[in-house]
């Protein structure tokens, strides 16, 4: 047995640096208790929320309501259930002395901590004592004692983590018991509590119960203030009182009555050197009494991790069979969780008033706020994007091997069937039932002959509308820009604009209807007269965004004959943005960015000002809805389908004011669009400094943002990939106010810079259509001709930094006087782009990039208003390979063991930048 002090010190060493994170969780919990936050928004793991909801077995909204209500009301049967479960808990005695707690997890196997039973030898002279508890008359019941039998089954994971040992550091021991007790009583009289390794048994903020033998006392249950509030990769952090001797006890999620963790230790507060502190603030010593130590909470080992360790352990054949009994429940539940959620109206079963169940704004869409926000694939059905040669023989062969490995339910299909070319390396969508680590599996897929690259198609947070939540990572607390809130509403902020840009030549001495259109003057859009309009030439722009709304500014400007919804909804032919307000929804992004292209000239909206750059030409923008909110894209497949459709329809220009980290799929998409001659205008990115995907790829046009002083917007991404800069800071766009009235505000983002380039492209293509329609300008040459003209005509008199902002500011007047470069002089942007090196590097680092990206953006979107705390996508846990990689990259960083923790947005961002530059440089 390992002494308690060493256990606590080990906990302190290992997790001390994460204290800020734990504190954050603690703070949220307080807010929840004060009624400022709904329960479901404490949880930042979307997948876990979704699975938790599924376990309720009712429609999502009803489940939300029920879970939110659980804090106050519980069905009585929970008591019966707890009472049953409690019978499985035993006290562990060594030489007659109590040393810990354990509980029965299969017919004859108990689990406890490694620090209670380290080895089979330790088990000698030990007994597991059941029913050591008081009856209702406070009289001790007759307890039953069973000897331990390590030779039948023994599996342990050490207290300390050792990178060389698989699944070490989980501090558990599983050991068999003799079938009959010391008095001949059968063990079968005690029902085991089977472990369920699936997620979603509890979400942050829900209560948990610890059933234990503290200090070796008769069985106790903690029933007060016992919420789960934070976590690490392998541990859950929760409140609750425990004492020595509770080690190895069960932690039960009250909402589901499932075991969520194996209790392991208290979590002490520490100083900067990870020294344990007393409540007085002094440094504690091994002699400090327990109750003087300043406990943060308790921590337990996640059952999911223990199940994974059991699964991956190497056992003798006899024990291997027993292992199956330990895993059975996990498999059964995984299947159940895959069943569809019952649809249905809001349940009224819970008498508790929901604290903040997501509101639904009336809309024509059938989307439910929660359902679609979490439309990630449930556990069990994994989706990957792979690249392979598009040849019948190759595909058949890959499919055959996949089916042999993953079973008959494998589907492999072209991700972009409409534009796929036979014999080329194309993107494929791969789907099969799978419950494990998706990132690790993506690496495994590479072993299958014919698969060139593979990545898990998991949700990715989008870099789109961060401009309104200007947060300083270093300070750790966000400040709003005073423009927009995360529910998509905002307020008119012209005072700020005037304050900030009093010296701007676009403002000084100008009437308001002029300076509100400063972006026109900065790009000379106010000076152009078109001989042939884009509409007359049949030139169309597709907008990849959140869809359209009926804001008067943009009403009539969207092409509703060709809109398309690529989300998983009933009617794909309507790209309306229902402006659903719910968890993390920030509607209207497509409206704001779209207004810069097609915003009506005159409306009755108060503070009327700006209008669309193409508004005078009867131009209609085609909305393709690829994301429900600007926060998250559920699957890259949706983006790919949109691009495929845009290509097969024969559209000319795409404007996309949303960004992703570099991924294999987006890289393939950018190249495809380029080959097909589509001018894909992409926002360079906000707040991350590095240019995001798809802007970062050679094939797209990357747009950075400037402000009314012709300087760079501080939040704009920058770098060699940037082609051009356009107004993106303090651009006048339509919004709704908090009381749902239409208004305007000055907003920031490369999101707003991008449509300027799309508009310029449309005008330029129309002006030179006669030349550009010649076959020598087909394919990528068209894109390249535009890029060259854009560069040649850019306005170089500006105060932008000399590097990283492309050729300077867009000057559309000069652009339209710049004819296409002779086709023979045009150079393929992918010359000098080492594609194989790029993909090889991305294959390795993609997972890290995505994880850090999601961490950073999850933090970035965490705003205070509306009670919606940060959302983060799933897939935040690094695969073993990812961990190794991270280890090698950031070896001197504190998080070398459980790297994925958000050690702070700053670290996540820095790490993203490091990984991103490795990936980007690999191609050059």
């Amino acid at each position: 047995m390992i002494p308690r002090w060493r256990v606590v010190q080990q906990v302190a060493d290992r997790f001390g640096y994460r204290e800020p994170l734990f504190k954050e969780g603690e703070k949220k919990l307080e807010k929840f208790r004060d009624g400022e936050l709904p329960l479901v928004s404490l949880e930042d793991d979307l997948n876990r929320v979704q699975l938790r909801l599924r376990r309720e077995g009712v429609s999502t909204l009803a489940a939300v309501e029920r879970i939110n209500g659980i804090a106050n009301f519980q069905d009585k049967n929970v008591l019966d259930r707890l009472s049953d479960i409690a019978r499985a808990v035993c006290r562990l005695l060594k030489n007659g002395q109590p040393i810990g707690t354990g509980f029965l997890v299969s017919d004859d196997i108990i689990i406890t901590n490694h620090h209670v039973i380290e080895s089979p030898q330790d088990a000698a002279n030990m007994l597991a004592q059941f029913e050591f508890e008081l009856d209702i008359n406070q009289i001790p019941k007759k307890a039953s004692c069973f000897k331990l039998n390590a030779s039948k089954f023994f599996l342990t994971s050490t207290l300390e983590y050792n990178a060389d040992i698989l699944n070490s550091g989980l501090d558990f021991t599983l050991i068999a018991l003799e079938p009959f007790g010391t008095s001949g009583e059968p063990l079968s009289g005690f029902s085991p509590v089977n472990l369920d390794g699936n997620q979603g048994k509890i979400i942050k903020g829900e209560s948990c119960v610890i059933i234990q033998h503290p200090n070796g006392l008769p069985k106790k249950v903690v029933l007060k203030d016992t919420a789960f509030f934070s976590e690490t990769d392998t541990r859950l952090i929760y409140e609750s009182d425990t004492l020595p001797g509770s080690s190895g006890s069960m932690v039960v999620g009250l909402g589901t009555c499932e075991i969520i963790a194996l209790h392991h230790s208290g979590l002490p507060r520490v100083d900067e050197q990870n020294r344990i502190l007393t409540k007085k603030g002094t440094v504690a010593t091994p002699d400090t009494p327990d109750d003087e130590i300043d406990w943060f909470g308790n921590e337990g080992i996640k059952i999911s991790k223990i199940i994974q360790a059991i699964q991956e352990s190497t056992l003798p054949p006899d024990m291997g069979k027993i292992r199956e009994t330990l895993l059975r429940k996990t498999r059964v539940v995984a299947q159940q969780l895959n069943q569809p959620v019952p649809a249905g109206p809001l349940s009224v079963s819970s008498p508790a008033k929901p604290l903040a169940a997501p509101k639904l704004i009336p809309s024509s869409s059938n989307e439910l706020a929660m359902d679609t926000a979490f439309s990630t694939s449930p556990t069990g059905q994994a989706q990957f994007l792979i690249t392979a040669h598009n040849k019948t023989a190759t595909i058949n062969q890959i499919e055959t091997v996949l089916k042999a490995v993953y079973g008959p339910n494998v589907t492999l299909s072209l991700t972009m069937p409409g534009s796929a070319v036979e014999g080329e390396i194309e993107l494929f969508t791969l789907q099969f039932p799978f419950g494990g680590d998706l990132n690790a599996e993506a690496q495994n897929l590479l072993k299958i002959p014919g698969i060139i690259n593979a990545e898990a198609d998991t949700p990715i947070l989008l870099n789109a509308d961060t401009g309104f939540v200007v947060q300083q990572p270093a300070k750790g607390a966000g400040t709003e820009s005073g423009f927009l809130f995360d529910d998509g509403t905002g307020k008119w902020n012209e005072d700020d604009f005037i304050n900030d840009y009093a010296e701007s030549k676009y403002y000084k001495g100008m009437p308001e209807l002029t300076y509100r259109k400063w972006n026109w003057a900065a790009t000379n859009f106010d000076k152009i007269r078109l001989v042939k309009t884009p509409s007359e030439c049949g030139i169309q722009i597709v907008q990849f965004d959140t869809g359209f709304t009926d804001h008067s500014k943009v009403k009539g400007g969207f092409d509703l004959d060709h809109d398309f919804n690529f989300l998983d909804t009933d009617d794909p032919t309507v790209a309306a943005d229902p402006r659903t307000i719910g968890l993390g929804k920030q509607p209207g992004h497509g409206t704001r960015t779209g207004s810069l292209l097609i915003g009506n000239r005159n409306t009755l909206i108060p503070h009327e000002g700006n209008c669309g750059l193409l508004a005078d030409y009867q131009f209609k923008l085609i909305p393709y809805r690829i994301a429900e909110t600007v926060v998250i894209i559920n699957r890259q497949q949706q983006l790919a389908s949109a691009l495929d459709m845009a290509i097969s329809q024969g559209f000319d220009i795409i404007t996309m004011s949303m960004g992703l980290p570099p991924t294999i799929a987006t890289a393939k998409m950018a190249k495809k669009a380029y080959e097909k001659g589509i001018i894909w205008c992409c926002a360079a990115g906000n707040e991350v400094q590095a240019v995001v995907a798809p802007a970062v790829y050679p094939g797209t046009i990357a747009v950075a943002a400037s402000n009314p002083l012709d300087r760079e917007w501080s939040g704009s991404s920058r770098g060699s990939a940037v082609d051009i800069t356009a107004p993106g800071e303090a651009v006048y766009v339509p919004i709704w106010t908090a009381d749902q009235k239409e208004d305007f505000a000055y907003g920031n983002g490369t999101s707003y810079a991008t449509p300027h380039i799309a508009a310029a492209a449309a005008c330029w293509l129309a002006t030179y259509q006669d030349v550009l329609s010649k076959p020598e300008y087909s394919g990528w040459k068209r894109v390249e001709a535009f890029r060259v003209a854009l560069g040649k005509s850019a306005r170089r008199e500006n105060d932008l930094p000399r590097k990283g902002f492309g050729h300077g500011m867009l000057d559309v007047e000069k652009l339209l006087k710049t004819p296409p470069e002779p086709a023979k002089n045009l150079v393929d942007a992918y010359n000098g782009w080492n594609e194989s090196a790029f993909f090889a590097t991305l294959q390795g680092y993609g997972e890290l990039a995505k994880t850090y990206w999601n961490k950073f953006h999850g933090w970035l979107f965490g705003t205070k208003r509306g009670g919606q705390e940060s959302l983060s996508a799933t897939g935040d846990t690094l695969s073993p390979f990812g961990k190794q990689l991270e280890n090698s990259l950031f070896a001197n960083q504190p998080s070398r063991f459980e790297s994925v923790e958000p050690t702070g947005a700053e670290t996540a961002l820095k790490r993203f930048q490091v990984v991103n530059s490795i990936v980007e440089n690999s191609a050059r």
Binding site: N390, L412, L414, P417, S648, Q649, G650, K676, G677, S773
Partner: protein, 558 residues
């Protein structure tokens, strides 16, 4: 019988893509003929390689008016010509390797090849204008200023044969390398080039043809190639898999075709998928709002068959079974329609007759739609399109017909739930022997069906009838398998007699719309012979004549 009109045939196509045994081009007065093994193959595949409407055959026929479809050979045909059961039999056929090789390897563009077709026709025009051919190509510009009567007289009096041109397939407008990565972006400008030409004129264009053109998607096409031919050419491009209605590019082409100031070109809906056809009917109406002249331009199909279903019945009652699947990494959907017994013959063994319910054929609502637009329906003489199967005994069939491929997105829209897509719903507003003899019976059943559907669906004023909108669209020399007894254009001379015999029988046996007869009957129940003769004349020639006159008057009359 004196005169015939054929809405769709190929005059010189085979001369262009074939060579004789000496490797030389066939002379204009020669028929393309297969011998030996090639002849054997020709017979197996139903005779597609031998000439059916060569200039020589035409000169011996009653054909006086018609439309010659021009097209360049698609990649799907050129890619693997006749690799049957793994053996390369392409060398056996009298094919011009150069044409096929440059198409296969992307060394040319469809537009360039199409222009070669035009050039060849124009170059040989002088020779073909002489006897015995006496062929003259029609061009609206040289007929301008003439009255309706003058045009009619000129077309009917004298010995000349007058043929218009059509463009079979939008692929002919692609100016990028065939089947390579680079997409064609300006097909409408190519079409404009053709329309602006003074030396040639086109009456119509098919937006689609038999195969998927990955470098230029204009709209969904319907599977048309039969099983044996698919085996022969073995290209996945023959099976519709992607696409949802008209693409933007397709609309640009249609807009260009219909709104050209002086030489509008009709859209031939043949080969479009059913979803795309519905999309087109709707798009045409929208176009007519901004361009009223479009209203004057009829909807037409040059060589079709019928499904003998209303689309409403077909979809709502799911007269098909279908499943989505993935094939070689591509999401696909196949639809097997119910076999539709459309009539019978007096042949005791082989009594039943079945249509071809594949969606390449027209649904009843479409027949009405075309008549309503004063359009023309050319009935194909391809036995497969009319519903015949190659089996000797074809009287009983499985409940389901052979599967056809439907593009997955279109399948999702119409077939999965069996409903009309929302946007097009408003379109229809809720309407609803010997082997040789069997085939002519099939043709007659088609005519009777169209006439009955037309009578039932529209109000006809005096001296007009559904019979005004039907004509022959043989597709001769279009690699087809003609109905028995009508292997080439010369055999069409027999058509009148056969129609006289079988039309009344078809009107008796067709089990649909039975309260609405297609022919007229006297009080004693006998067929009104005058009316019968009249409708046959209309079908064989007069409808085509009137259509041609309208074309030459640039659709200002009629």
């Amino acid at each position: 019988m004196e005169k015939l009109f054929d809405f769709h045939f190929h005059l010189l196509f085979k001369h262009l893509i074939t060579v004789n045994q000496a490797g030389k081009k066939f002379a204009l007065n020669e028929n393309v003929r297969t011998t030996g093994l090639a002849q054997f193959l020709n017979d197996i595949f139903g005779g597609p390689f031998d000439s059916q409407a060569s200039p020589k055959q035409v000169s011996e026929s009653s054909l006086r008016l018609g439309v010659i479809a021009l097209l360049s050979v698609e990649h799907a045909f050129a890619n693997r010509v006749l690799h049957v059961f793994g053996a390369d039999l392409s060398g056996v056929l009298p094919l011009d390797k150069d044409v096929f090789d440059r198409t296969k390897n992307g060394l040319t563009t469809y537009y360039a090849e199409f222009n070669k077709q035009i050039d060849f026709h124009l170059k040989t025009a002088a020779e073909l204008s002489k006897p015995p051919f006496t062929i003259e190509y029609l061009n609206r510009s040289s007929w301008a200023g003439l009255t309706e009567q003058q045009i009619t007289d000129k077309l009917t009096l004298g010995d000349k044969r007058y043929f218009s041109f059509s463009i079979e397939g939008g692929h002919n407008l692609s100016d990028v390398a065939i089947h390579q990565k680079t997409p064609s972006r300006f097909p409408e400008l190519k079409l404009k080039e053709l329309q602006d030409r003074a030396d040639v004129d086109f009456i119509s264009i098919n937006l689609c043809h038999l195969s998927h053109i990955p470098e230029q998607t204009l709209g969904g096409f319907a599977q048309g190639l039969n099983k044996t031919s698919q085996l022969a050419f073995s290209s996945e491009d023959f099976m519709p898999k992607t696409g949802l209605g008209l693409t933007e590019l397709g609309k640009k082409v249609i807009r260009q075709a219909l709104t050209h100031e002086t030489k509008p070109i009709l859209i031939d809906v043949k080969h479009m998928s059913v979803y795309t056809r519905l999309h087109y009917y709707r798009f045409r109406e929208q176009l007519a709002i901004t361009n009223p002249a479009v209203e004057q331009l009829p909807i037409m199909t040059s060589h079709t068959g019928f499904t003998f279903y209303t689309l409403d019945d077909y979809l709502q009652n799911k007269r098909f079974r279908s499943t989505p699947d993935t094939e070689n990494g591509v999401p696909i959907s196949k639809v097997a329609p119910e076999n539709r017994r459309i009539g019978r013959t007096n042949d005791i063994i082989n009594k039943g007759l079945f249509g071809n319910p594949w969606t390449i054929n027209l649904f009843d609502e479409e027949i009405v739609e075309i008549m309503l637009s004063k359009g023309l329906i050319g009935i194909s003489l391809d036995q497969r399109i009319l519903g015949a199967s190659n089996l000797a005994i074809d009287s009983n069939r499985d409940p389901f017909f052979e599967e056809e491929y439907i593009a997955r997105p279109e399948w999702e829209k119409m077939f999965r739930d069996g409903k009309l897509p929302g946007a097009t719903e408003s379109l229809f507003g809720g309407i609803a022997p010997s082997k040789q003899e069997r085939h002519i019976m099939l043709l007659c059943l088609h005519l009777v069906h169209a006439a009955r559907v037309g009578y039932a669906g529209l109000n006809w004023i005096e001296n007009t009838s559904p019979w005004d909108h039907l004509c022959i669209g043989s597709d001769f020399d279009g690699l087809i398998n003609p109905i028995n007894g009508f292997d080439n254009v010369i055999d069409l001379n027999k058509l009148q007699g056969q129609l006289l015999k079988y039309l009344p029988q078809a009107d008796k046996f067709l089990p649909f719309n039975t309260d609405q007869k297609a022919l007229r009957y006297k009080d004693d129940g006998t067929v009104d012979a005058a009316f019968l003769n009249q409708v046959i004349d209309q079908f064989l020639f007069n409808n085509g004549l009137r259509f041609t006159v309208r074309f030459l008057q640039n659709w200002k009359t009629g």
